[in-house]
């Protein structure tokens, strides 16, 4: 029983290889191939969403009502767990009047219709305002038997309303799946909107952008500690490119200096005990690990050629990284004890920025596709995933036409979505986007300035 839990990776690997999902790459380019991947993700659960109403005889607050409903509906949709039947959906009748489809004139849901559409659960609720406090009651009802599953109360003020609604969405996901949702998680990224690249943080939906550093020196490669309390990044603050740890609770920054050598792309291990990073020794970046405070420096990869961009496996027993030791850039996997160093990608000439899924089954990475365009041959970066052995390649971006460069993939804490930076919408300018694990439902979350190297933080 206990032994089983020590092997979540293998289980997930096989679990993801059942149902056929075929992704067809464009064949107009030389380096592209038709790709097929076998994956199994449970079908989405259908739930009906009845907008939260205001329980009040006096003054109404339509602004509060609308923001609760829009945030909650988006969170449920973006949970990647549900498909939503929105009870606000309406059509026009022959007289031009708006008629709701799934509920009657009084807003009461048509349970029989919902049942026929195989909706399992109805989400509903109401709120009332007392002074400045907003009290929300959330209710889940079984559509078939019309029995209440759970009723839960939440309290917010206008400032905390978004976060409280995110928590409601996560609670709904938990009630339906046994696993908490990701609506309360945050993302960190580098943005040059204020001049030099600085570290920023935002909610997973791109709201509440917060600048974390402001000393004017260039900063790169942020990464969260697994408890979400610290962010490690690299900066030229004191001259050389070195590693800094920002404590989000105290606001204090500490430096991990290794003889003032250039330090690259630090990544916190999922158990929180080690950092892995590139350290330039004799002019070549090699991989080292250390404690989060910089102590106990240990070499991991010392081989010929540069080794950078490491990413931990969820069990912390392996690290995937990029190396150019064959002249081309490819991904390699090594055990954290230094054994079994081997190459896993063999297609193309440029594979980089690997990110190991928290489910352990897939590795997302960036590959340079050579495209024949009107300006001649051009290299475009796209996001792919493969399994932990480099097989079952799956192309996620750039399908059905060029969609700019897509880089720096990072997984959501539940391993169902990928956050990345792309210049698809404005030439040369990078924004942040989220897509599902299979490349569907791309949405833009952060725009202002250039935004790159995003990293998805843990669940709170």
């Amino acid at each position: 029983m206990t032994a089983f839990y020590r092997f979540p990776c293998q289980i997930a690997v096989v679990a993801f290889s059942m149902l056929l999902v075929s992704v067809v790459g464009d064949v107009h380019a030389q380096d592209e191939v038709r790709l097929t991947v076998q994956a199994k993700i449970a079908p989405r659960m259908t739930i009906a969403f009845q907008p939260i109403t205001e329980k009040s005889a006096g003054v109404l607050h339509p602004a509060i009502r609308d923001s609760i409903n829009s945030v909650l509906a988006k969170d449920l949709k973006w949970s990647s767990v549900f498909s939503i039947i929105d009870l606000r959906a309406a059509v026009r009748d022959s007289m031009g009047r708006s008629v709701t489809v799934f509920s009657d004139a009084n807003g009461m849901p048509d349970m029989e219709l919902l049942r026929k559409l195989s909706a399992q659960v109805l989400v509903s609720g109401e709120f009332e305002t007392k002074d400045r406090q907003i009290e929300i009651t959330l209710r889940l009802t079984d559509v078939r038997t019309r029995r209440i599953i759970t009723t839960k109360g939440y309290a917010a003020i206008e400032l905390t309303l978004r976060r409280v609604v995110h928590r409601m969405a996560d609670d709904i996901v938990l009630q339906m799946t046994g696993e908490r949702g990701i609506a309360q998680s945050r993302v960190a990224f580098i943005s040059d909107r204020t001049g030099a690249p600085e570290v920023f943080m935002a909610d997973y939906d791109g709201f509440n952008v917060l600048q974390l550093t402001n000393d004017g020196s260039r900063k790169y490669s942020p990464n969260w500690s697994p408890d979400g309390s610290k962010i490690v990044y690299t900066s030229y603050r004191d001259g050389p490119h070195e590693m800094y740890v920002l404590d989000l609770q105290t606001g204090k920054t500490s430096k991990n200096s290794f003889s003032r050598q250039t330090t690259l792309s630090p990544r916190w291990s999922p158990d929180g005990k080690r950092l892995v990073f590139g350290l330039v020794v004799d002019g070549i970046s090699r991989l080292f690990t250390s404690r989060p405070d910089g102590g106990d420096l240990q070499p991991l990869v010392l081989s010929y050629g540069i080794s950078v961009e490491p990413s931990w496996s969820p069990r912390c027993n392996r690290v995937v990284y990029m190396s150019d030791r064959t002249d081309d850039r490819h991904l390699y996997v090594i055990n954290t004890d230094g054994t079994d160093d081997r190459r896993i990608t063999f297609e193309g000439k440029y594979n980089a920025s690997p990110a190991w899924s928290p489910r352990g089954d897939r590795i997302a990475f960036v590959a340079g596709d050579t495209l024949r365009t009107s300006r001649g041959l051009e290299r475009i970066f796209n996001i792919y995933t493969c399994d932990a052995e480099g097989r079952n390649l799956m192309k996620l971006t750039g399908i059905g036409g060029v969609q700019g460069n897509n880089e720096n993939p990072t997984w959501s804490p539940d391993g169902l979505q990928i956050l990345f930076s792309s210049d698809r919408d404005n030439n040369g300018r990078y924004n942040l986007y989220i897509m599902n694990w299979d490349g569907s439902e791309v949405r833009r979350i952060v725009t202002q300035g250039n935004n790159f190297t995003p990293v998805w933080g843990p669940r709170p």
Binding site: F4, F7, I11, A42, M45, G178
Partner: protein, 207 residues
């Protein structure tokens, strides 16, 4: 004549059994006491303590000590009798599998007659199915394994018993793995008034 032969034979057998029990108790020590056999499975290099075992006794088998074995015959005889009696009673004393009731969800039966939350069955079905890795079993016909388990308020799975083996150990094992990987299941509906829900879950293999 016959009576005394029976008496002698009985004594010899008793002494042999006592000796053997004592010996096995000595040689394997705590490993035997802990009970569950251990299966090594190459497939995923996970070690799973077997769940297909005799129903647990209320008290463990009593190992006859060396001292008792050396004691007068009557005492040893009584100890042996006690042990044999326990063995004979063992299968009867195992927890009876609760009666099960059909639900609308195929492959899922419950040990409560009325459960008013069909959504919940769909949710656990979805999660177990997501984690069910059907092994390749060359040459096997249709297989069916049934597992009984309980879900507590928080969705934790416990009291897992294989109530119907598929006769194929690989399939039985992957069924049990699916359940373990799906743990924790969604929490029970807050409005559900009992402490746990007992589920009979059927895993099927169609070649």
């Amino acid at each position: 004549m016959n009576r005394s032969a029976l008496w002698v034979s009985g004594l010899v057998h008793a002494a042999l059994l006592v000796g053997l029990t004592a010996l096995s108790g000595l040689s394997t020590g705590s490993a035997t006491l802990s009970g569950a056999p251990v299966y090594e499975v190459d497939l995923v290099s996970a070690r799973v303590t077997a769940f297909k075992q005799l129903p647990a006794l209320d008290e463990p088998y009593r190992i006859v000590t060396r001292k008792e074995a050396a004691a007068p015959e009557e005492k040893a005889d009584m100890a042996l009798e006690r042990t044999l009696k326990k063995v004979a009673e063992a299968p009867k004393k195992g927890p009876a599998t609760p009666a099960s009731f059909e639900t609308a969800m195929p492959g899922v039966r419950l040990d409560v007659e009325t459960f008013q939350y069909p959504y919940y069955l769909a949710a656990i079905h979805r999660k177990i199915q997501e984690n069910f890795v059907i092994p390749r079993i060359p040459g096997a016909g249709p297989l069916q394994a049934m597992i009984y388990f309980r879900i507590d308020k928080n969705g934790k799975v416990y009291a897992t018993t294989l109530t119907q083996s598929s006769t194929n150990p690989v399939f039985d094992l992957s069924s049990q793995r699916a359940l373990e990987a799906a743990n924790p299941l969604p929490p029970l509906p807050t409005e559900y008034d009992r402490d746990y829900l007992g589920v009979h879950f059927t895993f099927e293999y169609q070649p």
